[in-house]
Assembly symmetry: C2
Homo-oligomer: 141 residues x 2
DNA sequence: TCTTATCGGAGAATGATTCTCATAAAAGAA
DNA sequence: TTCTTTTATGAGAATCATTCTCCGATAAGA
């Protein structure tokens, strides 16, 4: 047993998750992968060593890993694209309880961000836009 | 003809887009809608007054409007969910040319944001997490 | 080893989005 | 206005990521 596998098993124990070969293989694949793989990437990676793991299983395991906090979803909480008629610069409040996405305007924030990235350049990357995802919940939810 | 419709027609002219009843109806629906409608919401809204507009048309018009800059997509540029094995706090660089999403760590930025939202409370909303979407392009792209 | 809750495999079902292609309509020219 | 050409639309099939169903398998504690 490789030590990385042992570490992964330990993570499952800490989270109270059953240790299964499928879960170990999937989390290993994510750790090995460096570019935010989508489910299909993960399925292909996992299939190199474990060709019998079903697609549905990978999706279920990914949900389990997200719920336990071992991995995160990138981008959106839903796969449905949403549209915004407001083209003025603004940010978004995402409620973890309801599906609301609310516009958030904050010119001070815009200035702070602009100032920050004037001082700190990101190597090899040219910034075109900055959008802050403010995640939380509305009091009413 | 309502003035809002007239304004919308003017917008199309400015962007060099053909004026069609479908496009007018769809952009009107987005302007009337306040909560970042998804395509299906828009289809339902549009169908109230224009029951014959096809779903496929709505999708095509939405793409056209996004390309022209009259509306924006919220959340992701793709509907495919991607996963991240890094649970340490970080932000993301999104390249508009390639599909890469790169992790970006910046503790100064985290402090600045934290400080900002300690001073400026958002009414009726409790912040749980702040993730900056840094959009732009890699030099190599 | 046994028991039981939970998990995984296989493939069908779902649902958002895209594609195809024939018809219709917009916009500029005459 | 009428014609011409380009582009848009409607209808519905196709695609593709994701979810669901259901039954057999397996992890983990007794």
């Amino acid at each position: 047993m490789k030590s990385s596998s042992k570490n992964i098993r330990q993570l499952f124990v800490e989270k109270g998750l059953k240790i299964t070969p499928q879960r170990v293989a999937i989390l290993e694949a994510i750790y090995k992968s460096d570019n935010h793989p989508c489910a299909d990437n993960i399925i292909k990676l996992v299939h190199k060593d474990h060709p019998n793991i079903a697609k549905g299983t990978v999706y279920k395991v990914l949900d389990t890993l997200v719920e336990s906090g071992l991995i995160q979803k990138v981008q959106a909480d839903t796969e449905v694209m949403r549209y915004d008629g407001v083209t003025k610069k603004h940010h978004h409040l995402y409620c973890s309880e309801c599906a609301t996405i609310k516009d958030y305007y904050d010119e001070d924030l815009d200035k702070i961000l602009e100032n920050h990235f004037n001082n700190i350049k990101i190597d090899g990357f040219k910034i075109e836009d900055l959008v802050l995802q403010i995640k939380g919940r509305f009091d009413k939810c």
